[in-house]
């Protein structure tokens, strides 16, 4: 899976590439509009992550070129601008997602994966990890071939974990993933805790192992080790 990261802030581009490479993606970076324009017309990517504000142009231009050349590429906008107009414009010209800076790498990772899944399989495939199977279309979860009933938030939480295996996730990023960024309060961290407790219990009930590891002071990690 090839991903192009168009971002002029070198450090940020490096972080994204580093993070996504660990997840098994092949990443390339373009720091300017023209670099990106060139790469887009030369190579084929499964997903492109585009920053809107570039020193020599607007990210929208790249999206328009991309849509002309290869309509199948998934596009995620990452921008510091959080106006509704920009979001609407981004979606109108064919981007699939819009993330406002600062964002969580784990969230970006989850969204890239979900986008590629949607693009490649139409969301029609199952996600299998050890004894856990998620039927994405039906939103059903099986542990050891036995269905376990999860609430909507528990399901989202499990999917978020499965997209970020072996990665330390902060409580804040989980809360934001589940409720969006308007839910910033100590209460939402409590809620994360109680959802994780429930999810862990439900997996254990069906004979699954306890994969959710808590990391002191930071958050959680979904891992087999």
């Amino acid at each position: 899976m090839k991903i192009l990261v168009v971002e002029d802030e070198k450090g940020l581009a490096e972080s994204i590439v580093d993070y996504l490479s660990k997840e098994g993606f092949t990443c390339e970076v373009a720091n300017t509009f023209w670099q990106a324009d060139e790469k887009v017309s030369l190579y084929q990517y499964d997903c492109t992550i585009v920053d809107l504000t570039l020193p020599d142009g607007e990210g929208f231009g790249i999206i328009e070129t991309l849509k002309k050349i290869a309509a199948t590429t998934g596009i995620i906008i990452i921008s510091a601008r959080n106006t509704l107009e920009d979001k609407i414009k981004g979606l109108e010209i064919g981007s699939d997602d819009y993330m406002t800076k600062p964002f969580h790498l784990s969230e970006l990772n989850a969204r890239v994966k979900s986008l590629i899944r949607r693009r490649n399989f139409g969301g029609n495939n199952d996600m299998i990890w050890r004894e856990i199977t998620v039927q994405l279309q039906a939103r059903k979860v099986f542990v050891n071939e036995r269905e376990t009933l999860l609430s909507r938030k528990e399901y989202d939480l499990l999917l978020y974990f499965l997209s970020n295996i072996d990665v330390a996730l902060t409580k804040e990023s989980i809360a934001e993933h589940l409720w969006g960024d308007h839910m910033d309060s100590a209460d939402s961290l409590d809620m994360v805790y109680s959802h994780i407790k429930n999810l862990r219990r439900k997996i254990l009930e069906r004979g699954g192992k306890d994969y959710i590891q808590s990391i002191y002071g930071i958050g959680y990690k979904f891992t087999a080790s």
């Binding site: 450090g11 940020l12 993070y19 504000t53 510091a80 509704l84 409720w179 839910m183 100590a186 209460d187």
Partner: protein
């Protein structure tokens, strides 16, 4: 009242008073002159009569043809020598009509006997003259008044036209657009000066608006990008396996600080944008309906805190505002009511055509409720919030003519929103 209407009215009233005064004065002058003339003639006749008596010492009514003209009546007893002029009505000799006469009365001795003599002159012709003159005068004055009135109306309409043109242009002027304010040239110095001043002001406003808009956009980009970098690096850092407890604590602090900074920055930029009135799009929104639709977003946390929500939404609260702002507005109020609520507490939503009230149970309030609308004012210093939520609510209210009040009574905190009552004549 419109300017032209007002000047017309004043002009009409003033000219009515002046013309009336002129008319009355004119009438009295003519009347005085005619009376003066009649009285002079009566005096001449009186002298003629007296010299006749002086010569003949007798009077025969028959010596005059005209009956009612001279009346001689003997007087017995005391009399004075005064000469009196007065108006009187005498019946006409030939028909039943009564005519106005001017009469002079005096006393004289005829044949050793004192007599009172009255000499009269018909005023009928004179009155007709006065009437004719008055009628002509009223007509002419009326015509003059109407024509002057119409003239001044047209004149001031023409004179003020540049002013009205300017007014229309200013009303249509939108400072959020790039187009400059165009004003018609006027040959009147005052108006062209006014236009110049207005143009300068509009240009300045437009310039300020654009530079502030650019500033918020740039600031947003320039601040959020490094914050994104900090966030990303922290996320990478926490992936390392061998973090000591101290490291975790420090990294958590860095992470929280950068998140707070990001929220603070977003809040301040939002405030600046609202203040700069950058949310230009607007639509008719029923805030009650929107409030109802917002609640499910908070379902989880409401359930988690076991908050009891009581809804008493009777009417729709309609307002013309930006949808994005309406959303932020209700979000802030609702999350406030939840965040500062007690667990197992209560939220009460009430609304009607004239108000929306959101009340919640909560801790005792130490600060002055109204001061909570100020920036960076928060009840508990250590809390996660950055203290901009209510300031944003207040700013939105100010922009859309709403009044917001925070009241606190026996652990119940309420926020009441209603249309601002406009003072004065509006």
């Amino acid at each position: 009242m419109k300017l032209l209407e007002k000047t017309s009215r004043i002009y009409l009233l003033a000219s009515l008073v002046i013309y009336l005064a002129v008319g009355v004065a004119f009438y009295w002058i003519i009347k005085y002159m005619i009376y003066d003339e009649v009285e002079t003639r009566l005096k001449v006749e009186m002298r003629d009569f007296e010299s006749f008596i002086h010569t003949h010492d007798t009077w025969n009514n028959n010596s005059y043809f005209v009956e009612n003209k001279i009346e001689v009546v003997p007087v017995y007893g005391a009399y004075d020598h005064s000469v009196i002029f007065k108006d009187t009505l005498i019946q006409n000799r030939y028909d039943e009509g009564i005519g106005p006469f001017r009469q002079v009365t005096f006393y004289t001795v005829i044949g050793g006997v004192p007599h009172r003599i009255a000499i009269r002159k018909s005023m009928i012709e004179s009155y007709k003259l006065i009437e004719a003159i008055s009628a002509a005068m009223i007509t002419f004055l009326g015509l003059l008044m109407i024509s002057m009135f119409l003239f001044q109306r047209r004149l001031s309409g023409k004179l003020w036209k540049p002013f009205y043109d300017t007014l229309t242009r200013i009303k249509e002027f939108d400072l959020t657009q790039k187009e400059k304010l165009q004003l018609p040239q006027s040959e009147v110095t005052e108006f062209s000066e006014l236009d110049d001043v207005l143009k300068k002001m509009a240009d300045k406003m437009q310039h300020d608006y654009t530079s502030l808009k650019e500033f918020t956009e740039n600031a947003s980009h320039e601040i959020q990008t490094p914050l994104a970098l900090i966030n990303a690096r922290v996320e990478q850092f926490i992936q390392s396996k061998d973090l000591s407890e101290n490291h975790t604590y420090w990294i958590e602090e860095i992470y929280h600080a950068s998140r707070r900074m990001s929220r603070l920055n977003q809040g301040l930029l939002l405030l600046a944008k609202i203040e700069n009135q950058q949310f230009t799009e607007a639509e008719d929104i029923d805030l009650t309906e929107l409030l109802k639709n917002k609640l499910p977003d908070f379902e989880d946390i409401i359930r988690h805190k076991e908050i009891d929500v009581e809804m008493n939404l009777t009417g729709s609260f309609d307002i013309h505002m930006s949808h994005a702002l309406a959303d932020i507005f209700l979000n802030n109020i609702l999350s406030n009511a939840i965040r500062h609520n007690l667990s197992k507490g209560k939220i009460c939503l009430e609304s009607d055509a004239g108000f929306i009230r959101i009340s919640n149970t909560g801790h005792d309030l130490k600060a002055d409720p109204e001061r909570l609308f100020e920036r960076f004012k928060k009840e508990s210093a250590g809390s996660e919030s950055v203290g901009l939520g209510l300031a944003i609510v207040k700013q939105i209210c100010d922009n859309y003519g709403l009044a917001v009040a925070y009241t606190y009574h026996e652990t119940i905190h309420s926020i009441l929103i209603r249309p601002e009552v406009k003072e004065g004549n509006g």
